[in-house]
Symmetry: C2
Subunit: 449 residues, 2 copies
Amino acid sequence: MKTIDLDILTTAFAGIETIADPAQVAKLSQDYHTFSPVLVPKLEGKVGDIVVRPANEEEVLKVAAICAKYRVPVTVRGAGTGNYGQCVPLHRGVIVDMTRMDKIVWVKPGVARVEAGVKLAALDKQAREIGWEMRMTPSTYRTATIGGFIAGGSGGIGSIQYGLLGDRGNLLALRVVTLEDEPRVIELRGDDVQKVNHAWGINGIITQLEIPLGPAYPWAEVIVTFEDFMTAAKFGQALGNADGMIKKLITIFASPIPQYFHALQQYIPEGVHSAFLMVAEPSLESLSGLVQQYGGQITYEKPAQEAGKGTHLAEFAWNHTTLHARTVDTSITYLQSMFPADTNLQLVEHMYHYFGDEVMMHLEFFRANGKVTVGGLQLVRYTTEERLNEIIRYHEKQGVQIANPHTYIIEDGGRKVIDPEQLKFKEMVDPYGLMNPGKSKVLQLKIKS
Amino acid sequence: MKTIDLDILTTAFAGIETIADPAQVAKLSQDYHTFSPVLVPKLEGKVGDIVVRPANEEEVLKVAAICAKYRVPVTVRGAGTGNYGQCVPLHRGVIVDMTRMDKIVWVKPGVARVEAGVKLAALDKQAREIGWEMRMTPSTYRTATIGGFIAGGSGGIGSIQYGLLGDRGNLLALRVVTLEDEPRVIELRGDDVQKVNHAWGINGIITQLEIPLGPAYPWAEVIVTFEDFMTAAKFGQALGNADGMIKKLITIFASPIPQYFHALQQYIPEGVHSAFLMVAEPSLESLSGLVQQYGGQITYEKPAQEAGKGTHLAEFAWNHTTLHARTVDTSITYLQSMFPADTNLQLVEHMYHYFGDEVMMHLEFFRANGKVTVGGLQLVRYTTEERLNEIIRYHEKQGVQIANPHTYIIEDGGRKVIDPEQLKFKEMVDPYGLMNPGKSKVLQLKIKS
């Protein structure tokens, strides 16, 4: 790779918005990998040289041509809410900030087409005017962009109904700009979208996406408390399995996790376990029946009408749980795990007792291949990297799949190997291996050559 | 039970619409139990004495008081599209025809309140104006009433998304008029609805219902053909498991079943097996990918825009399959079976080969307790009752649950025993055991005393 001459780049980018101020560039070289005490030292000091903020696809094409010409590394970012260091440039270069491309191209019943930099909340606002909303969103819903969510995310609030982003049907089309000498725009539809879906933003620069929408039910938010953790977990599974009840979020917290949520402490007495739920209002009466069956107690209920006001339960779920815990205790980190579909939740119970307070149970229910599955974003009281790895290995040995959020290397995270179709596409659209080189073991070889 | 004096009854009913013409009364004593060659002789000649057609709840209260006073058996009916003889009066008496009570009380996003005699199609028409529709409907959608569906049905088109009618959340409230000396109106909500849900219309006279609605997706209708039956079945399972794809109907027909569908023969060559699907249009592109993966061929695709026109695939599915087959060959009857949730579909495969052409495979996929489950409404080439029972017993021995549609006795059908809560409620609302006496073994004792 050539040494980067900033002056040449700045001149080349003339007419396109850029940011060269080192403090701002440093800020835009960051994401939420700071949740991991393992990643922080590894990614420390990794910054880009310049940020470019294209306003439209034409400008993206120009940026791509310039970067290809000068063989400059390119790191694409939305709001930078990822946790694997997806937005941290490992080999300096150009940061492409997509947030100016925030046009909602169209919204139809069940489908929307947007530019990559559209914020999830902005799309929802417009979609809800005609009765629809995003099928699933991360807990960073208010700030995250759709392009970033597709490139770096995997699911979230809504996954209990629609599964994960990688499931067929949850992404309908996308357009990428290539990093070739003469950059092209490629539109992928149908199964072809998987060539770019969840490819950590290194398979071309996503400019537009077509995503399916779900019906905008009136969502009520509910907290249910339980004396016993496993009863709470089983309640979550039963609610997940209740096909006649419409839900968007089923989160289970073992005590003492909710004690980290200052705004909600009055609803969750110390020592009890709790379920945080988003349920469609037509299912609320049925929910009481299920809660009663499991001996739970509804301590908080916020009607859909007040959805815009005050506390939003979803912002305590998924990885926002970790965020809240870390504002109280920065030594806390987390796991990302998938328990085998198992209605008895035996492995959950085993881990709950085995690790005790060191690994605090935070469960998220979602659908995987047609079954209600339990994921864990357990909070870990961090001591050393060795101990963290020991905890991870123990889970894996018992059959719990870990999508390790303590690595920035793709193959060491959730997928272990890069899908060959993705790799093939990557090689076509990024022939010089410029897109955040260093993210992948198999691709690192290329950069060095 | 007293002997019925028609003159006294007729006088008592003054001011309420009645039908006394024997031919019409006989017609209104019928339903679709005629699908079963076993039930036909058993229910032959069973007719009511008079039909009464209340226009509102006040009239229902009057009818109930009169029937209680004179201890007259009461058989409630909607459109009479049931298949278990639910509407056939076993001990004469009064037929209460609810079809005049067809008021839609209100429709809100996600919920509707209706009188029992509202036709499913009529509710859908009004609900769709605000973007909603019934979550599930039987194949008799155009004629069936909501009260009849709840009292005598169990699920149908839509159950692949929402499960069965008995699942918590699929019925929100109902009102019944009791058969006491001084009849009351009782409103049941939440879990209490299960006291009347699917109670074969003998737990009080249902006058109003509150049901949840689902989003009115633009539904496309698709036929996919396969060379191999088990590939078609596995495709059905995979589509059911595809959480990111929105579907309303997954029906699999073994050859030669589709040959009974005259209107569709051009799309299904002889000897091939087929899937009849209703899929939301935003999921259509993803469907092609899945079809390709299973080596199927899309031979028919009707866009949602044309939903109102021509052939409607749903009217060839669920028990309409049997109807179509019987119009060609009246010797055909059917089974109703539930295969254990089993992704390998081994039992389906076993039965397919074991019975060959005698039991033609017709599968309907639906959700049960959170899992995609396969139901069979197999077409049977009927020879004798003994052979039919042998076929049923063989299925049961292998672990296939049979909801026997060849009996009019509740306990011999799907549930084997009457739910104790339903029984308790029944005893309260119908203290004289007037509601179609003879439908239940446990209740028959009462009538004789």
